[in-house]
Symmetry: C2
Subunit: 441 residues, 2 copies
């Protein structure tokens, strides 16, 4: 494994490695990759200079925005690569998060999964290629640290953390009776009638228990993930590309495989189908809806933004970019049963439904070695652990982690060279629990 | 003129018409075009729906974002068309502009240039295809109105109003001694040594008194404006395009024509040359510099953003997108001799140098029929009128207008079908003076 030349691995190749090396990595979470310090994007000079030197330029068209270590810059600058839409925070004063910084947290010690030697919280920052992390305890910022290309006033791509926002909005619409969780997708989006989603229920989509012929195997050039991301403009298209031009055009091509309602099967395309349903039901873009329902109401510091396809459809699978403190605000709102800034923003019943988790028996088949006993509900990952923690999770280490028992919320952005979270879970999940226990003392 | 089919005119064709019809339009400021009400982008459904119908889609690649009436949507949504960078406002509370709305202003009457029949301030809003307008009097918002695709929390492209921000930053660096206005561009950017800019002084560039072989005649397919905008990714490129890939690559190709230091000659490319100088001297992107020097310091409500080329160079000629109230804040800061939010943001001497204007004798040759007696200084337009008004101006009706005597600042965004300001000046400039006199009563 040490001979792997990961330096110029495209994103997808990294995904492949992640998929195939998952079990191995649980034993060895730190393969021989350039370190976080060695790949600091400012030190490396990515996109710095007027103009940047040719070998320091990162662009969409040549795919360099998806290569490590260029990702250490691009994850904080996606708006330079693809079209985006605004998620307005409004124009008033943000609701400041109280600060009560502590200097004892860097020394908190934990044992990484699959290891015997302890590591400290402070060491985990670089081990995970963290771009920024904020910890709230009882609603106050007790820890905040940034690195590389991210600043407090900047935005970072949240990858699949995005899905949890869509799941929350979807569950809110169900709670309000605007969306029937037992109705089929085709009821709301007739254009999907003949696709795999046609007879899937909203609930099955929300919990990703659909039977879809949709492979995320990045080794297979015919895997549907390629058509999906090319259609949405997430990845560059080859010359002469004639395939679907948008996310929604692609969704109509997804075929059924097996039955709906079976095991949890994490397939990004479910989130995009949910996004279409939400847009259709509300008549709003997700940027407008998220702003009106959540983002502006919780007193966010910054506008967020979505990456969008060529007709303005948000990438529900991974296109939300936002400030780190605003991600922490969202987590804190969830921790407070949906109440924040003097308002009930998300119905308490929706938060409780997420926190109590999905069907645990439907989860093990999905084979997540770092998530034993977890479940999936409304596009959230639920630990079902002794603290009742649940999390929004995105590849390369993006996370919002809510620990109700410890009254702790963690928001983290990272640009880990390996996409799948089994690569950073070993130095993250036990660190979160150790920090929670330390804060509870 | 009534038979002109302007509906599907591309931007450039509109520019051509503006250039050729300028004198005629001074006599007849309202050609037979669809009205503002008829082209309301929400009523027309541009980019609305999930997904938008094919005939309501606006895209960069086919140039539809530059066609009227699609521009009524795209001017408020440029981030969906091209790459952008952030101009952070910071994360704290914005400095609210006090509100003292008046209901007597819509009735203020004026006579449009070249007309005999009066028009009211309220009527001028649609006559100018206004997307939003804010009027400050003595620092308080006395009038605020939006239409179409723009909202208070949204951003609109400011077109060449952008240039005045670059000119102000440049003049600040001169005042600080970081930039020698008598030195040549080549001193700071050796890459421009063999271009027309090589022996132009910073002062000549700041005042656009350079001798450049650079045509903005949109009728001529060989005009340099085409190469400039294609290089910067402002306009789509034809298949097989082999020309310059960035603004700065293009700048190096600009040839000299005549001598520097002669008449004022408005050529967008000067602003991009200044942008390169500023970036080189400060070592910062313009987004960072503008944020640190002005945008965050004046307590802006919103992040602004720049459209950028493929390597992240800002379009200095016209790429700043911002909230309307923040544009008014900037104007108010200038009106207060650079002081705002308890800080001296721009040196008073810089503001005074702008307000007193450039060489009036250098201006008439440029032939602006609606701007008699005006001059140009530090990329600002100076009226030299009885109120000492000066303005940042952008095509299609973008403006910041500062009237020191009336203690009035106007910020306006518009999507007038005809780009050049002789099309909206007749119903704007006399309206501003009438409003100023009304507010002084």
């Amino acid at each position: 494994m040490k001979t792997l030349k990961t330096k110029h691995l495209p994103w997808a190749m990294g995904m492949l490695l992640a998929a195939t090396m998952g079990p191995a990595i649980a034993q060895s979470p730190t393969p021989a990759l350039p370190t976080a310090e060695q790949t600091d994007p400012v030190k490396l000079g990515w996109m710095l200079g007027s103009p940047p030197p040719a070998d320091k330029v990162i662009r969409f068209v040549d795919g360099s925005g998806y290569k490590f270590p260029q990702t250490r810059w691009s994850f904080s600058n996606f708006r330079q690569l693809v079209p985006t839409t605004q998620v307005p925070r409004g124009t008033g004063a943000p609701v400041a998060l109280p600060r009560a910084l502590r200097d004892d947290l860097d020394a908190v010690s934990f044992v990484p999964l699959g290891k015997n030697t302890p590591m400290t919280w402070g060491e985990a920052f670089n081990a995970n290629y963290t771009d920024g992390i904020v910890v709230l305890h009882k609603g106050r910022i007790v820890y905040e640290r940034y690195a590389g290309a991210l600043r407090p006033e900047g935005q970072h791509i949240s990858m699949s953390v995005t899905k949890s926002f869509f799941g929350t909005l979807g569950a809110m619409l169900v709670a309000e009776g605007k969306l029937d969780e037992n109705a089929t997708v085709a009821k709301y989006v007739p254009e999907l009638k003949d696709s795999a989603f046609g007879d899937a229920t909203i609930r099955q989509v929300l919990d990703m228990r659909t039977g879809l012929k949709y492979s995320e195997n990045y080794l297979d050039p015919t895997a549907e993930i390629w058509a999906h991301t090319r259609a949405g403009g997430v990845l560059p298209r080859p010359p002469g590309y004639q395939g679907p031009q948008t996310f929604y055009e692609f969704l109509q091509t997804v075929k059924k495989e097996g039955e709906h309602g079976g095991s949890f099967a994490y397939k990004t395309v479910n989130s995009d189908a949910l996004g279409w349903v939400i847009r259709r039901v509300t008549g709003q873009s997700i940027g407008q809806l998220l702003s009106e329902r959540i983002w502006a109401r919780m007193g966010s510091e910054q506008d967020a933004y979505f990456t969008v396809d060529s007709v303005g459809n948000e990438f529900a699978g991974g296109g939300l970019n936002a400030g780190l403190r605003d991600m922490a605000r969202f987590g804190e709102m969830m921790r407070n049963q949906g109440r924040f800034n003097g308002q009930q923003i998300v119905p308490a019943a929706v938060v409780q439904d997420i926190a109590k988790g999905g069907d645990k028996s439907a989860f093990p088949q999905a084979n997540y070695p770092t998530l034993p006993g977890w479940s999936y509900r409304n596009m959230w990952w639920v630990s079902n652990n002794e603290h009742g923690a649940y999390s929004a999770r995105g590849i390369h280490g993006q996370a919002i982690y809510i620990d109700p028992k410890a009254e702790m919320v963690i928001a983290r952005y990272a640009s880990h060279p390996m996409p799948n979270n089994p690569f950073n879970d070993p130095t993250s999940l036990p660190a979160y629990m150790a920090l929670a226990k330390h804060l509870m003392k």
